[in-house]
Every structure is written in structure tokens, then in C-alpha cells.
Symmetry: C2
Subunit: 230 residues, 2 copies
């Protein structure tokens, strides 16, 4: 029985430079267990959604380096490379333009989140199939404070969710949303989608679905992979 | 030259059970690099503040087990054990009651945050020396959403800080604050302190200063220790 009828697309966005890693290598290319972070991310989606079409958005200047890495490390996940833009918004828009005329569901995912669990990916697609959107998010484990003039005050952490990716949407709805003018208020795809007048559904994420942005994250990543292998 | 004149106290609160770890062993006793998590935490403070008096608050039922662990693992950090209460508030209050009549600065710290960097501990004490309080906190790396009836809306993550420990206060001021009636609004020591009519100062924490609450955190911890050792 095939439960999901919509065609699936996955847009992996990898535009980072190396600045926060104190490294000259953009973090999506750093090696994790001997393979580029990005290769792990692609492989995770390939394994979970064998029928999905994967589009990788990369800065034009990094495409050659990536192809070389794919050769060296034997990256076999089929994917289409699309050139990134000056901002994340422009990068996602380029991928959505590439998918012009297609129909289905599209997940947008950070290239540097290589540990997203298969169950989270599946649930996001299932929810988006029903409601039109699915934004993966987790509850806060720590207390949270809100800054205000002259200090800070406690906030109720139960009222907040930390947003992760993937974020899954009806492809045409997201393409319509990305036809808007770019705004500094757009911090992720959900905020772009909402600015087009629609609401998003939240789906439970995972604390292991980290974004590799600091050296500590890379160590964490190595530890996760080691445990997964047993 | 002695820069800090105040006497220093450190209250380590360890009241957890094993429920979130899918383990029967309370997480403060789990082994990290062959030593209980709590032993790492104590050692971190001993190494950073050689002149501080350390008070460990433990559920009465766990004290015997802890003493046994100290023998087995050769835990040599001098510390006084105080029985915990039914809630975190009561546990901290018990430690503050034990310090009745003392003067100085007191740090309250989660027993399951074994990786707090020395620099963060020092800066927290320095700030509290000047302003009366110091709450360690970090900026949010992910986008954040606020839940509301029927859905959720984006929030501005730059307005929020995730609260960690240590939280450092003038001892007498914190004792006065803990003389209040316990309230469900008290999520940490800062909120108790503020409810007594005072303001808190924030100090920059560290993303590596994690709270060991899930199995992933323990893997992360092992990776951090491995890297610290080189």
C-alpha cells in the first residue's frame, strides 16, 4: 500500500563559510567519520525517502570543490546541484525556480544537519501531506529569559519551541510564498510561508538533530555516529 | 594581588532520577570517561576556585551510594553533603540554611553540567562581586517560535537567552530570597532572587556547558572530554 501519493522533493541548503568554525573549510565540507558533513546529510534523505528528488543548493564558487569531494569520498546519492544566491532566501528561491512546473511536497533542510532521524523526516512529510506544511521543532530544555531595556526577565519556556529543519510544504504553496519580496523578518522557510498568509504545523524534532556550527558540534557528531554504528 | 575579597561557596544541586535517560541510575552518577558525572562537576570547581567551599545537595536516599562511588572512583574533591528536599527549591534552601551565618558569594550549579569552562565560572564570580548577581546564559542558535491558541508564531530569537548555571549571588541576598514561600514560577535561582525585588546580571555562558539529561548528551560529553585531553 502506498500511503503518500505526492511526489517528494528535498532541497538541501548549504551556503555556509568557515568563519564560526575557526576553519577555512566551509562547515558543510568538514569531515565527520571520514566523510563530508554534506554527504551524511544527503545519505540520510536517500536512505529515508528512496523516491525523493534531491536538490543541493551550493554557492557557485564551491560547486567544483564539492564535485571533487564527491569523487574522492565516493558520494553516490543522486542529487542535482543548483547555484546558491546572496542570501538563504535567494538560495531556496533558486531551487524552487528550478522545480518550476513540478507538483508535490518539498522539504527544505539545512545541509549542516546530518543527524535528522528518519522518523522525523517521515513524520514531517506525513503532516505536510495533510495540513500543507510541517515545521520540525523541539521544546527548550533550559530556562529562558527575555532581554529588555536595562536587563532581562524570565520567560515561560513551555511557550516556546526551537525550530529545526526539515520544513516541508506543498511545493506550489512554497513557490508562491517565495514570490514575495525578501524581508529581514524571514529567518526560515516557515516565516516566508506564513508571510504569504498561511499557517504552519509543528512536528516534534529531535535533540540529536543538531546544526554543525561550532567545533563542539563536530565532536558531538562524531560521538553520535560512533554510537549509531554500535 | 588578591582581586576578589569575598569568600566563595559553591552549591552543587543533584537531585535527578534516571527517568529521562532510560536508565535506572540517576544521571549524576552515570560514568563519563570512567568517572561519575558528578565527580567531573566537583573537580571542575575545585580546579577553578581552589579557595571555595563546596556543598553538594543530594537526595538522602542517594548519599550512601555516592559515598561508595567516591571510594571506588577515588573522588578527592573536598565537599560537604547536605540532604536534598522534595523540590529543587527546597534542596537549594537546605544548602543555604547550612550556610547560615556565613558571608560571601554563592554559586548554585547543576550537578549534571560537568563541562562548565573555568572562564565562565570566574566571570560569573567577578560579575556577582560587582553587581550582586550573575546568571550564565547563551544566545539561541536556532530560530524560535512562540506557541499560542491554535498554532504558533515566529519570535525574535535575538531577544532571548537560554539560561545555564552557575548562577552566583551575594549569599545573604540569596538567603533572604529563599525565605520566600515557594512558587511554581521559580524555575531557577534567578527567578527566586528576582521575586525578592532584585535584578540579575547576565554573563556569557558556553555552548559546551550542557546539562546531561539525555543519552545523546552523554555521548557529547565523552567527545568533549576526549578533545580536552587532546
Amino acid at each position: 500500500m502506498q500511503i503518500f501519493m505526492s511526489k517528494k522533493f528535498v532541497v538541501i541548503v548549504a551556503g555556509g563559510s568557515g568563519s564560526r568554525m575557526k576553519s577555512d573549510v566551509p562547515k558543510q565540507f568538514l569531515l565527520l567519520d571520514g566523510k563530508p558533513v554534506l554527504a551524511h546529510t544527503l545519505s540520510r534523505f536517500e536512505q529515508t525517502l528512496s523516491d525523493a528528488e534531491i536538490i543541493l543548493v551550493l554557492p557557485e564558487t564551491q560547486v567544483g570543490f564539492w564535485r571533487k569531494l564527491c569523487e574522492i569520498h565516493g558520494v553516490t546519492t543522486p542529487h542535482q546541484v543548483v547555484n546558491g544566491g546572496a542570501t538563504r532566501f535567494q538560495s531556496v528561491k533558486n531551487a524552487l525556480d528550478y522545480l518550476e512546473g513540478e507538483k508535490g511536497l518539498v522539504a527544505v533542510h539545512d545541509g549542516v544537519r546530518p543527524f535528522v532521524p528518519a522518523g522525523v523526516i517521515r513524520e514531517a512529510f506525513e503532516t505536510a501531506e495533510i495540513t500543507g506544511s510541517a515545521v520540525v521543532a523541539v521544546a527548550l530544555k533550559d530556562s529562558v529569559r527575555r532581554l529588555e531595556a536595562g536587563g532581562s526577565v524570565p520567560a515561560d519556556r513551555s511557550q516556546f519551541r526551537l525550530v529545526q529543519t526539515p520544513q516541508v510544504f506543498g511545493l506550489e504553496l512554497l513557490q508562491q510564498a517565495y514570490a514575495q519580496q525578501e524581508s529581514p523578518l524571514f529567518t526560515d522557510d516557515a516565516s516566508v510561508y506564513e508571510a504569504s498568509g498561511r499557517k504552519v504545523s509543528l512536528v516534534e524534532g529531535s535533540y540529536g538533530n543538531i546544526k554543525i556550527t561550532t567545533p563542539e558540534d563536530l565532536w558531538f557528531g562524531e560521538a553520535i555516529l560512533k554510537k549509531e554504528k554500535g
